[in-house]
């Protein structure tokens, strides 16, 4: 396929994405001037992903499974220290 034809197809594609500002560039040097277009395309493509709506019912609350896990870890730490304290009080080492 000829380069000119390829460029024309690409221009049509870009125009379809609303990026007509780049369609006039059909020279062999188009690659060097099309970087901004690529950036724009990337932004256009990624934008919907980054703005994906949060799961239902979680939008207004930061309380979730992670919260529960964190609290559980804290309770495990408390359990360990209480186990030592319980040993100290119920069966003191060396009795004195």
């Amino acid at each position: 396929m000829q380069l000119r034809k390829k460029t024309a197809i690409a221009a049509v594609f870009l125009m379809g994405l609303g990026l007509s500002a780049c369609s006039a560039n059909s020279s062999p040097n188009a690659a060097s001037t099309s970087n901004p277009v690529r950036t724009t395309i990337s932004q256009t493509v990624t934008s919907p992903t980054s703005s994906t709506a949060p799961p239902p019912n979680s939008a207004n609350s930061g309380i979730n499974d992670n919260t529960l896990n964190q609290i559980n870890q804290q309770l495990n730490s408390l359990d360990r220290s209480m186990s030592q304290a319980n040993q100290d009080v119920t069966n003191p080492q060396g009795d004195n």
Binding site: S61, D65, L75, S77, L78, S81, N86
Partner: protein, 244 residues
């Protein structure tokens, strides 16, 4: 066994020394009396008695070093409480090490007895320092965790309200939340000021302060149960509102 009975039997080292056959310190003492007078038989078993005292001293150093590690690893211990405990433990290690030096140079049973007496009554590693340290760590943990759970309450209520506004039946979540608030409140009350009470306990106050350690332990055990129940309540809330 009752702690006071244990104290009577074992604290003055007399029982331990007797156990090796020397009866060097066979006379029991009250917890406030002066060191008993050495019996003549001590002279024949002096090396054994000295070795036993050194073993007991080294065991105490090991225990105190373990307490130091526990303080260093305690995530929820406040900086002030950590500093207070560390200072006291360090001081005890220094004192016990000084006793080791002293015992190594003793040549008489009476000298050995004075050092052994000091080891028990001056430092109270097992009857004061150990429970004091671990209970303070636990009390601060209860305070920290209950405070964190308390701070979640507005957010939990908001989530319940939002779910209700969306037409969801929130009866189960609201009931669990009411219990959550009650459990957190109980835990907060149990640990409030307890660290200061514990830090105020000294070797000189033993064995009279034993009841403070027992009651603190019992209160913290209850608080620990309260916090576990609060966690269960929050799990119920998250699941019923599908917040996970």
């Amino acid at each position: 066994m009752n702690i006071f009975k244990k104290t009577t039997i074992a604290l003055a080292l007399s029982a331990s020394i007797s156990a090796i056959g020397g009866s060097a310190f066979a006379a029991t003492t009250s917890t406030t009396s002066a060191p008993p007078v050495s019996k003549p038989s001590c002279s024949t078993d002096f090396s054994q008695a000295k070795s036993l005292v050194l073993t007991e001293l080294n065991n105490r150093v090991t225990s105190l070093q373990s307490l130091t590690k526990d303080v260093g690893n305690a995530k929820y211990l406040t900086s002030n409480d950590s500093a207070a405990l560390s200072s006291e433990i360090t001081s005890e290690i220094s004192g016990i090490n000084a006793l080791i030096t002293s015992v190594n140079s003793t040549t008489t049973c009476s000298e050995l007895r004075v050092n052994a007496y000091s080891m028990v009554y001056t430092y109270r590693v097992y009857l004061v320092m150990a429970p004091k340290t671990h209970l303070t760590i636990s009390a601060d943990a209860v305070t920290s965790i209950s405070s964190e759970l308390y701070n979640l309450e507005p957010e939990i209520q908001a989530a319940i309200n939002a779910a209700s506004a969306n037409g969801k039946n929130v009866a189960q979540a609201q009931s669990a939340f009411a219990d959550f608030q009650s459990q957190v409140s109980s835990a907060q009350s149990a640990s409030n000021g307890m660290d200061q009470t514990l830090l105020a306990q000294t070797p000189a106050g033993s064995p009279g302060n034993w009841s403070t350690f027992v009651s603190s332990k019992n209160s913290l055990e209850t608080a620990r149960g309260d916090l576990h129940q609060a966690h269960t309540d929050l799990t119920t809330i998250v699941k019923s509102l599908k917040l996970g």
